[in-house]
Each structure stands twice: as C-alpha cells, then as structure tokens.
Symmetry: C2
Subunit: 302 residues, 2 copies
C-alpha cells in the first residue's frame, strides 16, 4: 500500500568530527521516502527551487519514489547548515535559508488522495492539517514536529495532534509539549490529546513506544562509527511506516516490529553522510540487522 | 552460594524535587547487600562509627546479611549529602564527611575468604586489590569505580581492572576511562584491559552489557514516580551478582538475565527514598517485574 509523505527537500551542509559535506541531498521528505522505499511505494509532496540538481531527481526516481507532487518553484532550494560535536546527539544549526520552502503550500495530486498511509513530516502544523483535509480517508496518519512549533503554534499543533494516529517526536519535545519532566507521565498526557500512539526518539538511547495498552522499548544499534546523524529521525519514520504500509497493517500489535524496522533504517542512515548509506542497501541487510536487534535484546524467560 | 561485598555504609541526606530525608541508611555495601539478599546469602565488609544506629544493624541482620565483617571504629559514620534536580540522572554532592571511612582498611574475616562471588563496590582501587589478595579463589569478581579514581589513581585502577571479571560503571566513566567518545569503541578498549565483561549503567536509559562475543541492551523500567536515584547502581549490581550467585552461574550466557534482575532491583530502589522500597519486597514482585521487562522488549521474529 502506498504512502503519502509531505515534508522538506533540502540541500544540506553538514560538519561532524568525522568530515564535512556541502549542499548534499537532504530534507525530511527525502530521508523518509528513501527509507520507506525499501518497504513499499512512496508518493512525495514537497518543493524545490530552480537550482535543484537533476541527479537528485534521478536518484529519487531510481528509488521508485513518485515525485508528481514535487513542486518546482522559482528561487533556490531550502538550505540547512549544521554542525555536530562528539556527542552527535544534537545538531547545532549554523544557517537556515528557507528559500522556496518558506511559501510552501502542499498540493496533494489527485492520484495521491486515496493513500491509506500518510506521514506529515516536520512542517507548520497548519499545513499538516491542511494536508489532512485534502486526503480522503487514510487508515493511518503519523506526524512529526519540533520545539519551534510547540512554542510558536501550540494550539494549531494541538489540533493536528488530535487528528493523527501516531506522533513521532524526540525526548525533549515530549517533555516540552506535555509540560512534564517525567517521561512516562508526559507520554500519558500526550496520548490524552488524541493520538493512539506516541513514539519518542532518543537518539543513541533508542526509542520508546507508548499506547494506552502497550509500552515498548527499542535499543539503538550500537555502532562503532556514526558519521552523520542528519535525517536519522525521518529514516526511522520511513522504516516504521514503510513496514506498516508494506504489510498492510495498522494494528498496535505490530507497532513494536515497526519500531525495530525504523531503528534499523536509522542505524544505517547514520553510518555515512547524507543518503550515502541508504542509497543502495540490500533488503537482506535490513533483515540481518533486524535479527541483530533481536539478539541485542534477548534474555531468557523465568 | 554466598557473596562477599566490600564497600561503604553511610548516613545519607538527600533532597530531590519530591522530598527530603536526613541521615538515612545508605552506602554502596548496604544497597548492594539488601538487593542481593533477595537472591542469596551476603557477607558484608565495611566500617561504621560509634553513632551508627542499632536499628540499621537490626535491619541488615533481618535481611540475613552477615555483618561479622562490619567494623565499628571510634568516630562518626561516613556521611553524604546530595541533591537531585528534575532530570534525576545526576547527583549534586553538597557535602561529604568521610569520617571513619577515610581510614577504612578492609579486613576479610576468615569465614568469608572462600566466597566464590565477590563485589568490590566503589572504593580506592588499591583497597580493592588488597581485598582480592585476601580472598582465596573466587569464581567471579565484579567491581565498580568512579571518575575520582579514574583521574587520581589510573594505574592502580588499571591493575584492579586486570584482576576482575566484570566492571560495572556508568556511561561517562566508560568514555573517560577509555579516552574514547564512541561508546562501542570505548567498551572494546576497556575489555582489552582484562575483564571479560563490561556493564555500562545509563540511568533512565537502561544498561549495556559487552563481552567479546555478546552485546546486550537492557531498558530501564519506565516509572511514573522516581523519588530518589541514590543507590540505584549498587542495587543494580546486587541484583546482577545476586542472581548469578543464587543460580551458581558464571557463564556469559546468563549475563543478560542477570542484567535484567539488576535492572529490576534498581527500578524498585528508586521508587522511594533510601532503602524504603527494597526493605520488604516480595520475591513474586521481583519476578513480576522481570516479566514486565520481557514484555517491554518483545517484538516478533521475521
């Protein structure tokens, strides 16, 4: 079953203790789509400028990502510049040039409107809600957000959250959005806002899944070389929703497996800069790493 | 099989956002012994002053902890005063009065010398090594340490580490001791120093176990109310070694289960101040929580 994703396409400049790249392919919709493309068909809605290189278009097409919804506007593509220190858990933004992304108004092509799986990447919550008005009757909607929207548009965000099935955010955002320092209480409060699941991304500490009846704790894959954490969260979301859409499932019982597939994809993504590692993964590698996660968490029953 | 533990007995004054206690029972040997007492017999070597209340002696005896090795010296008992903020992950030490602990010289009673399981809690690495010279031929020795010893006595600590089977430290200590920011590489380096296992305690993020052939990731139990993290690490060690000693096992294959029992005991400990929660647990509660950990990490095979 195909997925609709609405988010950003960017040209990123990233510096980590292990290297530096300039104007490489990035953006939430790109990381999400590439990751999800290993599991199912993806339809992307985003915007780029005149300067967006054809090679990236070719790359996306090569991944069977449908880009009918990729709008091309006059002006430059969204650019983000960031740096990571040795902890690698937090990006320090050096520069953001929204360019054509500033006036992005998602228009969902007719062919995408009956997509049953929808991912609203981190954009203005009003736009997220607008997307939901354009789609017909999705079986599963997940969304991301960020501290900026929690602070600037809390009411609009609240309305979006009420309309989605799954919220996927990080630990600090969870505490901030719920105004609660205890993570379990914060999760309960956010679930009371409407979504039936909350996934808390914790970087190198893994991820937590909360529903009303289930708590699930996924590790992060222990990597000796983490080159670039950019896009890890969207790669996670791509693996998570990709697995659900690929298996046509929406029930909570399979959310833990989906979280592991998300963790698998995030772990691959951070091994190299930009999309380099996810560019040509073999599905067997994904399955092998899934099994590694099984071993990593195995202990005997009593 | 009984365990020998050498460490501190203290009177702690602790403040957290949820309350405040003064001169309550604490110390690494006490947390460790109480936790391990649910699994096997424990022999404690430590020191207290004249002022140490009889009720605490009675408490330890009531837990079947052998305190023949608890030396009573002229002077006051070791006192520690600390405060935790809302993150609860790190203690801010307000005051330390070593008192009789300053000149503590562990003397291992004859009856303890053939203990097959030994835990060297966080004390001067020279004393830890001295304890190992006094015991006969233990099957399994684990030890803890802290940043203070890593910085002040690195060579002595190195010699101790060479002589133990398992090192149990926290994440920052792992990075500092190995001089390496990547945790997986840091773990490999520490294993190359001698021990056959390293357990990294990560507070609310759980624990990681590394051996040459195994990596295991344990979650922390998601608690809605964490009152006082004091003693969580020693309670963890008590559950870990307690389980191994109680089942007479020393092989790596059962370390993951032991890590979970450690995590179970740590999770109980932080639910109340001092030893209040571990004071009278039922073993069935421990088993129930172990099963909760199983559910918390369960996902389907592929």
């Amino acid at each position: 079953m195909s997925i609709l994703v609405v988010g950003s396409v960017a040209l990123d400049s990233v510096e980590t203790p292990f290297g530096k790249v300039r104007d490489v392919l990035g953006g939430s919709a790109v990381y999400f789509s590439t990751s999800a493309s290993y599991f199912t068909d993806v339809n992307m809605v985003a915007v780029v400028g005149n300067d967006f290189p054809q090679e990236h278009i070719d790359f996306l097409k090569g991944k069977n990502i449908d880009i009918k919804g990729l709008q091309r506007e006059k002006g430059d593509t969204f650019r983000w510049e960031g740096r990571y220190g040795f902890e690698l858990n937090e990006a320090h933004t050096l520069d953001t040039q929204l360019n054509v992304f500033e006036s992005f108004t998602p228009e969902i092509p007719q062919e995408y409107k009956d997509c049953e799986y929808v991912f609203l990447a981190n954009i203005d919550p009003e736009l997220q809600l607008d997307v939901l008005k354009q789609v017909k009757n999705p079986r599963l909607v997940a969304c991301d957000t960020m501290n900026y929207w929690i602070e600037k548009k809390p009411k609009e965000l609240q309305r979006t959250i009420e309309s989605v099935d799954i919220l996927i955010i990080n630990e600090a955002e969870t505490r901030e959005f719920a105004c609660e320092s205890n993570l379990v209480k914060a999760a309960r409060r956010i679930l009371s806002f409407g979504p039936r699941a909350l996934i808390i991304k914790r970087g190198e500490y893994g991820a937590l899944l909360f529903t009303d009846s289930l708590t699930f704790f996924a590790p992060a894959y222990p990597l000796e070389d983490i080159f670039d954490p950019t896009g890890a969260g969207d790669s996670f979301a791509g693996g998570f929703i990709g697995y659900l859409a690929g298996t046509l499932r929406v029930d909570e019982n399979c959310f833990p497996q989906a979280v592991i597939f998300g963790s698998v994809m995030a772990s691959f993504n951070v091994e190299k800069f930009s999309l380099e590692r996810m560019r040509d993964l073999a599905y067997a590698e994904i399955e092998d790493r899934y099994r590694d996660f099984k071993n990593l968490t195995y202990f005997e029953d009593i």
